[in-house]
């Protein structure tokens, strides 16, 4: 249990620190027109928009699934306990 907690905390720390340390790129000395950029450096917007909406959908589906799974688990435990109590009282 303790090992799991420590692992979870460390993973969260490493992930968030990694993001926090990713600083803005260094400034440039002159303007560069979009047309003179090499094709690889022109960043398309559509994949970012799609990734954003897809990440919301996936995150929410996963979260709803975890709630559903936890409710099922507790209901199963409740039923098992009630059955055990019923058997003991007989």
């Amino acid at each position: 249990m303790l090992l799991r907690t420590v692992a979870l905390t460390l993973t969260s720390f490493v992930l968030t620190t990694g993001i926090a340390l990713a600083q803005a790129p260094a400034g440039q000395d002159e303007f560069v027109p979009l047309s003179s950029l090499p094709p690889g450096q022109e960043l398309p917007a559509a994949p970012l928009v799609l990734a954003s909406y897809a990440s919301f959908l996936l995150l929410m589906m996963f979260y709803l699934w975890t709630i559903w799974r936890r409710i099922n688990k507790v209901e199963q435990d409740l039923d098992a306990l009630k059955r055990r109590q019923g058997a003991a009282s007989r």
Binding site: L43, V49, F56, I67
Partner: protein, 223 residues
Amino acid sequence: MRKIFLPLLVITAALFAYSPYYINQAPYESTMLLVQKIFYYHFATWMAGATAVIVCGVASGYYLFKGSVVADRVAVATAELGVIFGAFGLISGTLWGRKAWGTWWAGDARVSMALVAELIFIGYLLVRKYGGPGSEKLSAAMGVFGAATAPFIYKSVDWWRTIHPKTSVMSSLNDTPGGVIMWNIVLFCTLAFMLLLTVVLAARMRLEELRADLDRLYLEAED
């Protein structure tokens, strides 16, 4: 709540199903063009997340001073929702910033404070799960202080000027015809996220009630 749960769920699902079509009708913002469309879910998720953490803070305070068990259940459920909405807010902001600002992480006051708030509420849930007996009160104190960060996060863009737009950008939307359409879509998405918050909160509260029933039965069985 159980009677209106299903109608609320259907309405929420319908709003979310319609939202991509509605967002597609929004005019392009002049400098950011397509990537600005992330804004509609990004803003709405932060509104839902802020509501969740403020409710968590109030419920935590009420639990600390009055000892209300229901308030404690509301607090733990909203803390979890605050983490979920906050995570999506950070992810969508990162994706938007990559195109609009040329960086994944601007590291300005608002995003840094939002990350800290996210960590506080992850800490809340960790304390709650692994803290053992008495962790409810400890996590409640974390909930109060976590919620206290919300107004600072909101006003940070006005107090510390960075690349992040000021809060006045929202009220300026109504000044132009295209802006009015954008504003209506913002309100639509915010309503959808608020309903989602309500529906998921109800489901999460049900889980807490069942856990309380299970604990009560275990205690009865031990007696």
